[in-house]
Symmetry: C2
Subunit: 244 residues, 2 copies
DNA sequence: CAGTGGTCTAGACCACTTT
DNA sequence: AAGTGGTCTAGACCACTGA
């Protein structure tokens, strides 16, 4: 790059980052693929290796790529372990991570509620898939979950109904079956009393205190792709947060 | 650095980061101070400017320094705005940040409970300061808080009892009066029923669902310096979390 | 205008992995 | 041995700030 003037406001390394991210979003590079080595990317894009390196570091922080010394740079392939580590915040009372056993109770078509439409950027009453799940922690059903997905993003959603264990985390399924990579989520937490239905699922009395977590999840292109409401019995578990 | 061998396992930039962090922890450089410019640090430490730059970037991410183009690099001076932005997670129902009005109800000496001693790395029954506070959000008392501080770290703790507003956030006070910079905290969240005392403070009935947040805060040297239990009425507010 | 951090370049060498 | 990312160096130039 020998031009003296750069009319673009954004720094070069951010432009390079956007270009590489777009290739992943457009599935020109797919999860698991080996991408070209740094010097080749640099000459192809007409920038220095240091600039490519800075862009790749940002994509690695966003969990979109994995770099392995001696092997190369790969588009990140989500695994259940990775997805749980990134998005599942429940711990036992000693602070140890727990692995949930998840059962899909039902998958049904529905119409977006006003809250869902606003959160997901959909038209009112737009078609959604509704998934209900329950999750066992350390042997007890502690979590009841209601997930809403825009039908347009998840055509032919096929989740095996399972009474006990789902073999892969649902975000891994989104990626494999629908090409949607969840990279970020926002959650809003509150304490409230359990409804009768929740109390039945969790083995509580109606009105017992439960933790309600409302999540909005975003994919690599910044699109809201999932809204879920999770209700948790925190008798023997805690929702862990790191502030820094 | 012309040596061919480097016996140290850690990369140079991490060693430089540790050296500079230690200068802040040891108060050789104090909050607000202007620190030497990059090239000077590089020659003083015998490394290249790029290595210093990488160390400074890490310290900036940790909120220990602030870099301002054209002005220089300063040791971070906590402000109430900064401390609230970093450590106060409550939002209104629209997701907007709220600013709490804090009242200090009491400051008393006490002895560490077993949980506190374990969390803070103290001997059983070690002396602690106990601070009780309440916080108003949007005009209502929604938060009741109990803070425990190791007496050894906070000699002569002097918090003005205030019925309404505390002029600075308490972490700003820790820094100014005791030289303790809180950089990180871990929180564990649960839903439970309010005790009678909590219900009285929050204007609820005993047993009403409240959000309990147990926080352990760490300073720049990695030492646990504060344990607090916060009880929140989430009738009109949410605890916000970003997952990425 | 001088001085600072921010960006960008162009390499050399090391550590690790695989063939 | 060959090829990759990780570290480290040594600059040039730009953008911003304040005297």
């Amino acid at each position: 790059m020998t031009e003296t003037r750069r009319p673009d406001a954004r720094p070069l390394y951010q432009q390079v980052e956007a270009i590489l991210r777009d290739r992943i979003v457009a599935r020109a590079w797919r999860p698991g693929d080996l991408i070209p080595r740094e010097p080749d990317l640099a000459t192809d894009l007409g920038v220095s290796p240091g600039t490519v390196r800075r862009a790749l570091a940002a994509l690695e922080r966003a969990h979109l790529i994995e770099r392995r010394q001696g092997r190369g740079t790969f588009v990140a392939q989500q695994t259940s372990e990775q997805a749980l580590g990134q998005f599942f915040r429940l711990r036992d009372l000693a602070g140890r991570p727990v692995t949930p056993l998840t059962a899909v109770l039902s998958v049904e078509p529905g119409a977006a509620t006003p809250e869902e439409a606003a959160a997901l950027g959909l038209a009112p009453d737009a078609p959604v898939h509704r998934v209900r799940r329950s999750r066992r922690l350390d042997g007890w059903t502690r979590v009841s979950e209601a997930i809403a997905l825009p039908a347009a993003l998840f055509p032919g959603l096929d989740l095996p109904l399972a009474p006990a264990r789902l073999e892969v985390e649902i975000y891994v399924h989104y990626q494999r079956a629908h090409g949607i990579i969840v990279v970020r989520a926002e959650e809003a937490l509150a304490a409230r009393g359990a409804t009768e239905e929740e109390a039945r699922i969790l083995g509580l009395e109606a009105g017992a205190p439960v933790l309600e977590v409302t999540r909005l999840a975003y994919d690599a292109s910044g699109r809201a792709v999932e809204r879920r409401v999770t209700v948790i019995d925190t008798a023997a578990h805690r929702y862990a947060v790191e502030l820094e």
